[in-house]
């Protein structure tokens, strides 16, 4: 693991940071947006490189815009202070930023020496004229986007108390190479890389909550088997290869276990299995199709799809007692449930009027909300680990693509390139 190509030095800010964080409190998008001035990062001790400043600015702008928490002050209105490096509060002319109506300010500097890149980033509280958080990142030129994503995560942590998910990854299935293979990309769609080369059919990835590991289903042995891959070593291993389906494997958030759908007994049923495929428990026992499990964050319950009452609907089963209750009552086709990491809501897909859209519902079955309204089909919602965003598949642009939106349905944007034919995303844990 090469986590430490990126060396993060935390600047000790004294008691200010803690008190400031409690004074500025924003949590949900749309409620009240905070006016933010995002200045271009300036060259400090090395040469001026427009691409570096441009990438930092682009990443921060896109990440922070996606949160829905900020309103950007028009850079065209910036005054002379935007042209000065200001890494300490005493160096910043807060009056200028106050004049422009901004409440928070991002400033920064970079130093390029050979291939070594140092980025120093700051978030200031304009009203109280002080530093809220600062980071110094040391890496190489190619790490510049990663540094900016990490600072966006840090900004969210400072302002909301919870770190952002921007320095994580999204796994997905793409047909770019001609066959459906497993791919990995940044959460803004950059740097896509192919992880499998099965030249068969690869489906339905899920991230291990503990590490850089994924499970997925592959047909390369002429049966839909569940396999596992370690992302950095590329090592692959069979997890479950029972006759029939071995699909929709989902890591338990706690404990070393997977929920999976097997048809070895002649009918799709949900089982709990170990990482070697050994069966720990059969969770459903019904003539109907039972499939597509998703764990509650405490690993105590599983929401799944069953057509035991005729049409596919969502049900919740208690993992310990087997007690099962129906969750959705509306619609005639409710599938692909995903339990939020906060535990309170479940996202799913409903077919209505010939097309699919994404909904969320409270765990007790109340407060159902529709998030997408076409065009095309929106499917396969999965949460970011902080519960702020949903990543999903959509064919709104013709070919299937991976999209992201806020959990209230706003801010939707495409992540994969228009020609990539991609779907079925899964958001990683902390990277």
């Amino acid at each position: 693991m090469r986590i430490f190509w990126l060396l993060t030095l935390i600047l000790w800010l004294g008691p200010w940071a803690a008190t400031a964080a409690t004074e500025i409190e924003i949590s949900a998008p749309g409620e009240q947006t905070m006016p933010l001035a995002l200045t271009s990062f300036l060259a400090k001790d090395g040469p001026e490189v427009a691409e570096i400043a441009g990438e930092i600015n682009e990443v921060l702008a896109a990440d922070l815009d996606l949160t829905g928490l900020f309103r950007f002050v028009d850079p065209a209105a910036f005054l002379s202070d935007a042209g000065r490096i200001g890494l300490y509060s005493t160096q910043v002319d807060f009056t200028q930023w106050r004049l422009l109506g901004s409440e928070v300010l991002i400033k920064g500097a970079y130093t390029l020496q050979g291939d070594q890149l140092i980025v120093e980033a700051r978030l200031f509280d304009v009203i109280n004229r002080r530093l809220l958080t600062g980071r110094r990142y040391v890496g190489r030129t190619k790490d510049v986007r990663r540094m900016a994503h990490t600072f966006a995560d840090q900004i969210l942590k400072t302002l909301t108390g919870e770190t952002g998910p921007f320095n994580q990854r999204i796994a997905y299935i793409s047909k770019s190479s001609g066959n459906k293979e497993l791919w990995l990309m940044d959460v803004d769609g950059h740097q896509p890389i192919r992880l499998t080369d099965h030249r068969s059919i690869v489906l339905n990835p899920d991230f291990s909550p503990r590490g850089k590991e994924l499970v997925f289903t592959s047909y390369r042995a002429n049966n839909p088997d569940l396999e596992r891959t370690e992302i950095y070593t590329g090592q692959e291993a069979k997890v479950s290869s029972q006759q029939g389906l071995n699909v929709a494997g989902r890591y338990a958030p706690i404990g070393r276990e997977l929920a999976i759908t097997l048809t070895k007994d002649g009918n799709p049923e949900i089982y709990l299995v170990g990482f070697n495929g050994s069966i720990h428990k059969r969770l459903t026992n019904n003539w109907a199709i039972d499939i597509d499990p998703s764990w509650s964050p405490d690993s105590g319950h599983i929401v799944f799809v069953s057509n035991r009452l005729g049409n596919p609907h969502l049900f919740i089963v208690n993992v310990y007692t087997g007690e099962t209750r129906r969750l959705t009552t509306r619609g005639k086709y409710n599938v692909t449930p995903a339990w939020s990491p906060k535990g309170d809501r479940i996202a799913f897909t409903r077919q209505q009027g010939g097309s699919f859209d994404i909904y969320t519902i409270k765990v007790d079955g109340s407060d159902e909300r529709r998030l997408t309204f076409g065009p095309g089909n929106q499917e396969h919602p999965r949460w970011s680990p902080d519960g702020r965003f949903l990543v999903y598949s959509s064919d709104a642009g013709g070919k299937k693509g991976v999209y992201v939106m806020r959990t209230d349905g706003t801010g939707a944007r495409r992540l994969t390139s228009p020609e990539s034919d991609s779907n079925h995303p899964a958001w990683s844990g902390r990277w």
Binding site: K180, I289, I291, D292, V305, T349
Partner: protein, 180 residues
């Protein structure tokens, strides 16, 4: 696949079937004697099964490595989100049963497929149920279950890549491939 290796039938199959029309459209590799009311088919087991190779017009270009279409076994179609056999499907499966019994050395894998709508996972399950429904019906007609295996491809191998009712109807199917 290993389990299908277990049984080999060495007896001649003698089948009576009332489904003349079916046999007429897809004559199996057998010597046929019969009259207008019924047909007696005698099949020489030493004969190769009637495997004609991949029908490129009806199969997507994805890998079909060890699966070859069997010309005498026709695909059956299903309604949206259904795995129950329609009357039409039953008629076709009766023909397929007759063909299988006339070609007793033949083993087939039944592939279950779905249209592109719906969740991948649910469609995998649905495809499995479709293949299973086809298999069970053939078994009920007297075909030895050991000659038939099933696999679901869900929505992964569409016959028609378009997104319209016609294409979807075409893609909701169970089809038969020879086991190599």
């Amino acid at each position: 696949m290993k389990i299908w290796r277990a049984l080999q039938f060495s007896l001649m199959a003698l089948i009576l079937t009332g489904l003349l029309a079916a046999c007429a459209t897809t004559p199996p590799p057998s010597s046929t004697t019969g009259d207008a009311q019924g047909q007696v088919q005698a099949t020489d087991v030493s004969q190769q099964p009637d495997v004609k190779g991949v029908d490129s017009g009806s199969i997507s270009s994805q890998d079909v490595a060890d699966h070859l279409a069997i010309k005498g076994l026709k695909r059956v179609h299903f309604d949206f989100d259904q795995f129950t056999l329609t009357n039409e499907a039953r008629v076709v499966l009766k023909q397929n049963a007759a063909y299988l019994q006339a070609n007793s050395g033949l083993k087939a894998v039944i592939e279950g497929h779905c249209d592109e709508r719906g969740s991948d996972e649910y469609n995998l399950a649905l495809g499995e149920r479709r293949a299973s429904a086809a298999k069970q019906y053939l078994v009920s007609l007297g075909v030895n279950g050991n000659r038939l295996s099933i696999i679901s491809y869900g929505e992964e191998k569409a016959l028609d890549a378009q997104s319209n009712e016609q294409a979807w109807a075409k893609n909701r199917r169970a089809e038969f491939k020879a086991i190599k």
